[in-house]
Each structure stands twice: as C-alpha cells, then as structure tokens.
C-alpha cells in the first residue's frame, strides 16, 4: 500500500511541479500578444498549409516490429529472474526456441526491407 501511495504522490508532484514553475513566473513576466509572434515558426516565411500531414507507412511498420520485441522482453524478464533455479538445459532450449522464432520474423522483416529507411 505504501508503495502505491509513493508512486501516486510522485506522479502528482511531478505533474504539479511544471504547473507551479510556469505559474510562478507570472509575477516576473509581461505579455504583449502579437499576431506575428503567435504564428507558427517556418524559417521566417508565412506558414504554408497545415502542419499535421500524413506520414509514410514505414513508421507504422517500425512500431509493429517494436511491439513484437517489446512483448518478447516482457516474457524474458520472468525467465531471467528464475533461470538459476530452473532445469538449466531445458530452460535454455526453451528460450532458444522462443527467441529463434522471433529472430526468424526479424530476418523476414529485414529481407522485406521494412527495417531500412525509405
């Protein structure tokens, strides 16, 4: 319980700190709003169109491959913790099979050239 309380307090304090810091500067700072000042910066030119443009598909493929390996690491953590208490040969072979399947997928992604930048 104490642990969760600590995490909660740290989260709230971490969120409150920037608000206090930004608010605290209000005494010191002045504000002169101006159209030019509030325009999005585009190397001094007038901004052309909306900035939120669609992006290349390769970003999403990277995200997919990342997800696969991130979940792999979640499986590897518990295995690594109790490895010394397991039947070593069996535990080792199991993880070789598990990592091997993932590496086959990784090689497939490499051969399909989704791991290189377009």
């Amino acid at each position: 319980m104490e642990k969760y309380l600590d995490i909660l307090v740290f989260t709230l304090a971490g969120a409150a700190f920037p608000l206090i810091a930004v608010g605290g500067g209000l005494i010191l700072r002045r504000r002169y709003p101006d159209v030019e000042k509030e325009r999005a910066y585009e190397s001094g030119e007038l901004p052309i169109g909306d900035a939120r443009i669609p992006f290349h598909i390769s970003y999403y493929v990277f995200a997919l491959v990342f997800l696969v390996f991130d979940i792999e690491s979640v499986f590897l953590y518990p295995w690594a913790v109790i490895y010394l208490h397991l039947n070593h040969v069996l535990a080792f072979l199991e993880i070789v099979v598990f990592v091997g399947i993932l590496l086959a997928g990784w090689l497939y992604a490499w051969k399909k050239k989704v791991l290189s930048w377009m």
């Binding site: 104490e2 642990k3 309380l5 600590d6 995490i7 307090v9 740290f10 989260t11 304090a13 971490g14 969120a15 700190f17 920037p18 810091a21 930004v22 605290g24 500067g25 010191l28 700072r29 002045r30 504000r31 002169y32 709003p33 159209v35 000042k37 509030e38 325009r39 999005a40 910066y41 585009e42 190397s43 901004p47 909306d50 900035a51 939120r52 443009i53 970003y59 990277f62 995200a63 990342f66 390996f69 991130d70 690491s73 590897l76 953590y77 913790v81 109790i82 490895y83 010394l84 208490h85 070593h88 535990a91 993880i95 990592v99 590496l103 990784w106 490499w110 791991l115 290189s116 930048w117």
Partner: protein
C-alpha cells in the same frame, strides 16, 4: 498520515535534487563543451568558473514571455511539458542510492524504470503534434522511430544482468555485485549496448535527430519558450542523471566502494558516467536517420540477443 508525510518529504527531496542537478549539469555541460572546443565556456556572469550563468539563465527563463502558437492543439501543447516531467520524477523512486537507502525499493524496480521512462516519447509526440509546426512534427516523428528502435536493445541489454543476479530489485542487483564483482566485466557487451541505447533514448548527440538544431530548428520544442521549454530541459537533464545512475547500479556496483559512504560512491560514479556522456556528445557528429535505424535494428538488437543467449549458456555450463 505518517506515510503521507514521508512520501511528501521524499518527493520534495527529489524535486530539490532535480533542480540542483539541472543547475549543475547545465553549467558543467557548457564548461565541458567549452574546453573540448578550446574555449572557456561561461565566465563573464561571475562566480567560481562562471557558475552564476545557470542562475542568470533561470531568471531569464522565468521572465520570458509565455505565448501559445496559433493553431496549436491547446491541451496537447499545454500538457506536453507536464507529461515529460512526470516520468523524470517517478524513476527516482527505485534508484539504489545507498546500502540501505532507496526511496521505495520496488521488487520490479528494473521493469518499473524502463516502463516509466518510455512515457517520455508520449510527451515528445504530444509536443510535436500539438505545436502545429512542421519542424516540430518532423522532430516528433524522428523521435518516435528512434525511441522505438533503441528501447528494445536497451531492455534486452539489461537481461544479462538479471540472469546473473536473479532479481529485478535494483538493491539486490547491487548487492550481488559486492560479492560477485562488477557486472561490467562479465557483461561488457551488455554494457556497451546499454550505453549506446541510453544515449539514443536521451536524444543526445550523436543521436539528437529529434532536435537537430542545424536541420529542423529545435525539433519537437521549436514552439516552446520560457518556463515551458525549461521543463523539457529539466526533464532531459534529470533523465541524463537517472539513466546514468541505472547504468551504475547495473554495471558498476552502485553504492559499493571502499572508505567513503555508499551514496557518495553512487553519486561519484554516476557523474563520471554523465561526464563520459558529455564527452561523447561534444566529440561525435550527428548521424543520419538511416544509419541510426540500421545501428539499432541490424547491430544492437542481434548483439543484445546474442548476449542474453551467451550469458544463459555460460550460466548453464557453470
């Protein structure tokens, strides 16, 4: 009530440390970069070796006008600095500072650390998407690809240490090194992967594509100024400290050392790692994004997987 008071005291201590740490590191970084480039760095503001420069910077940032770019996504833009600050503060909970001194020694300390730090990407992306600025969005997209690519080797490189220590609790990992010797020697491959990946996770040169000044202005924080911008920098310097501290705990024996008290050793080792990070930052040029992704996916990933299997094999034979 007592628990609440203890938690409040801890968090105030951490926040004071975060500010003091940033104060020192900003000055140190400018000094280190100065001497590497054969100049003096800040001197004129005064104080010993120009340390008042940091105080002057903070005053300037406090007094700077605060405005939101037109067309910005209001809530995303306002919340991004807040979101970047939360994980920076949270990770201090699990750092093994001294022999019996951890703010909250969680049993899953290492997983907690890596899961919390991955929220940094969320803040970067909120800032980039919210700003309605093309450079910001480019920086955020680059940061996305980069942090995705380097988080996998970063996590996998720590598993070798977990295999030997048999625990995710950082205090236990450090204690295992007092009998066993530093894991740096056995896990040197893991350490190299960890160090490269953590520099990339911090968005520091040679991996600072997300905010490369000479290419995309300032990347995701182009549209931020004053205190809001300072929050990003504060979080960045805090993350620099905490990720170096994690490296020290995992590979360099944490608080373990002769004569001096544990926390002194811990801070000393951490700042040495921070200094090496700065040294690399001011020595190497920025790499291209295709080189960055190739290094992550085609070199660090297979090397870290091979390191896990090799460590497991050695432990099995032993």
């Amino acid at each position: 009530m007592n628990i609440l008071l203890a938690a409040a005291l801890k968090v105030v201590g951490v926040l004071v440390f975060v500010m003091a740490n940033a104060f020192m590191l900003i000055w140190l970084e400018r000094k280190v970069s100065g001497y590497i480039q054969r100049r003096y760095g800040p001197l004129r503001v005064g104080g010993p070796a120009g340390i008042y420069q940091s105080a002057a910077d903070i005053l300037k940032l406090l007094a700077k006008e605060d405005f939101m770019p037109g067309g910005a996504d209001r809530w995303l833009w306002l919340l991004a600095p807040v979101v970047s600050m939360v994980p920076a503060v949270l990770v201090y909970l699990v750092l093994p500072i001294g022999r019996t001194f951890t703010l909250q020694d969680l049993g899953v300390g290492l997983v907690f650390f890596s899961s919390v730090t991955s929220f940094t990407l969320l803040a970067i992306f909120m800032a980039g998407w919210g700003s309605n600025n093309k450079y910001s969005l480019l920086g955020a997209m680059r940061a996305g690809a980069q942090l995705f690519s380097y988080e996998v080797p970063l996590i996998l490189s720590t598993i070798g240490v977990v295999l030997i220590a048999g625990s995710l609790r950082l205090q236990t990992i450090v204690a295992a090194q007092t009998q066993h010797g530093w894991f740096f020697f056995e896990q040197i491959v893991g350490f190299i992967v960890f160090f490269i990946a953590s520099i990339a996770e911090l968005n520091r040169t040679p991996f600072d594509l997300a905010e490369g000044e000479s290419e995309i202005i300032a990347g995701y924080h182009t549209e931020y100024s004053g205190m809001r911008w300072a929050m990003f920098m504060l979080a960045e310097y805090s993350n620099l400290f905490t990720s170096s501290a994690l490296g020290v705990a995992l590979f360099f024996g944490g608080w373990h050392g002769p004569w001096l008290p544990g926390w002194v050793w811990f801070l000393l080792k951490t700042y040495i790692v921070v200094f090496v990070g700065m040294w690399i930052r001011w020595t190497l040029p920025r790499i291209r994004i295709d080189q960055l992704l190739d290094l992550g996916w085609k070199f660090l990933l297979p090397v870290s997987v091979a390191n896990i299997l090799g460590t497991a094999l050695v432990l099995m034979v032993r």
